[in-house]
């Protein structure tokens, strides 16, 4: 069964795409409070989409505020049987 660890992937994305090391992330972390501008956030979204081979609908992305929200959206889009954890 495939596994996706949202926090691990988010940290990896921030480091690879934005060169930013993020610590102490949780399900409740508010993405807009991480000091990333809108360009950086969308680059992270792109990273997730490429790695997971999904496309996040823009109307759903507009509602994402926390890493928990992001995980919930990813969970809906990955193939059945994929385990999404934080």
């Amino acid at each position: 069964m495939a596994q996706v660890d949202i926090i691990h992937l988010f940290k990896q994305a921030a480091l690879e795409v934005n060169g930013k090391k993020l610590d102490q992330l949780s399900k409740d972390t508010v993405i807009s409070k991480l000091g990333l501008d809108s360009v950086a956030v969308m680059e992270l979204v792109s990273y997730f989409e490429e790695k997971l081979n999904i496309r996040m609908p823009d109307e759903d992305l507009a509602k994402v505020q926390t890493l928990g929200d992001l995980g919930g959206l990813v969970k809906r889009l990955v193939p059945p049987g994929t385990e999404v954890s934080w």
Binding site: S32, M42, D58, Q65
Partner: protein, 292 residues
């Protein structure tokens, strides 16, 4: 918070004469509506006003309010072409208010204040608002999930200003797909940060969710292609007038990001053309009727 007077004035107060060089003769700074009979920018802008006045069911005896009336282009259409005897306008920009006063439009009164502070002296027969809602929610508020509540508060407040059965001719720029490429994202961010600070275009579903408490959506037309044509024509006219813009000194004025007005406005309008072509942005006109 909503765009402040200072933020609105960054977007509109460089110089009325600067905007006059690349907008149409009445200075509509919103999407036109093109069709087979309205092919020039001037014709298509009047056609836009016609659609909205029809949506608002405006008659000569109607008392009409234009919320976010810009330089008065739509008010001018209402009183000169629709023969409306009394039309009121609300704007936050002092330069725009001064321009409207200078036009000496018969039957027009202007309030230079925030809609939240506005207290109408009598109830209106019809409302029109053209792309003013794009200034109501900041990107930070959207990220906090406040967009729909703020739009709902707006729609509910203006509903208190009208007579039973009144209609509202409403137009908004919309955000749609989000590009994924860095250059495109930076161009959009530049437009939001430098040209229209403090504002964010709504998504269509946010507007529908927000307006329904007070207003029934009777008709809805998207105008993405029209806005693409409008901004392409603005860009063509801007470039055509480059010498005048530079010679006047407006073009070389430095803006907050350290770039000149010329550089910023050419980039902004080029980005708009791309945004409408690629579905990053759209535009909507809605006919709303008060739920009595």
């Amino acid at each position: 918070m909503t765009s402040t007077r200072e933020e609105v004035e960054i977007g509109y107060d460089i110089s009325n004469e600067f905007f006059r060089l690349w907008l149409d003769e009445r200075m509509h700074y919103t999407s036109a509506v093109f069709d087979a009979e309205h092919t020039t920018l001037e014709q298509a802008q009047r056609n836009k006003s016609r659609w909205l006045a029809d949506f608002a069911e405006v008659k000569p005896e109607s008392l009409v309010l234009d919320i976010g009336c810009g330089w008065g282009a739509n008010l001018e259409y209402l009183v000169l072409e629709r023969k409306v005897q009394r039309a009121h306008g609300l704007t936050l920009s002092r330069a725009q208010a001064a321009e409207i006063m200078a036009r000496k439009l018969p039957g027009v009164n202007i309030w230079c204040e925030d809609y939240k502070d506005f207290t109408p002296t009598e109830k209106y027969d019809a409302l029109i608002s053209i792309e003013m809602i794009d200034h109501l929610v900041s990107p930070a508020q959207q990220q906090e999930g406040l967009a729909i509540p703020i739009y709902r508060e707006y729609f509910n407040q203006v509903a208190k200003w009208v007579k039973p059965g009144a209609c509202f001719g409403f137009q908004a720029i919309l955000r749609d797909r989000v590009p994924r490429g860095r250059k495109d994202l930076e161009d959009l961010k530049f437009t939001a940060d430098v040209i229209f600070p403090g504002g964010l275009n709504p998504r269509l579903e946010e507007l529908i969710a927000a307006c329904g408490q007070s207003w029934e959506v009777i008709q809805l037309n998207t105008r993405r292609v029209d806005y693409g044509k409008t901004t392409a024509e603005w860009l063509r006219r801007l470039r055509l007038n480059k010498d005048k813009i530079m010679a006047s000194g407006w073009g070389t004025k430095v803006m907050a990001n350290g770039e000149t007005v010329w550089t910023n406005y050419e980039r902004y309008l080029s980005t708009c053309v791309k945004a409408f072509a690629n579905h990053w942005s759209s535009d909507v006109q809605m006919k709303l009727r008060l739920k009595d």
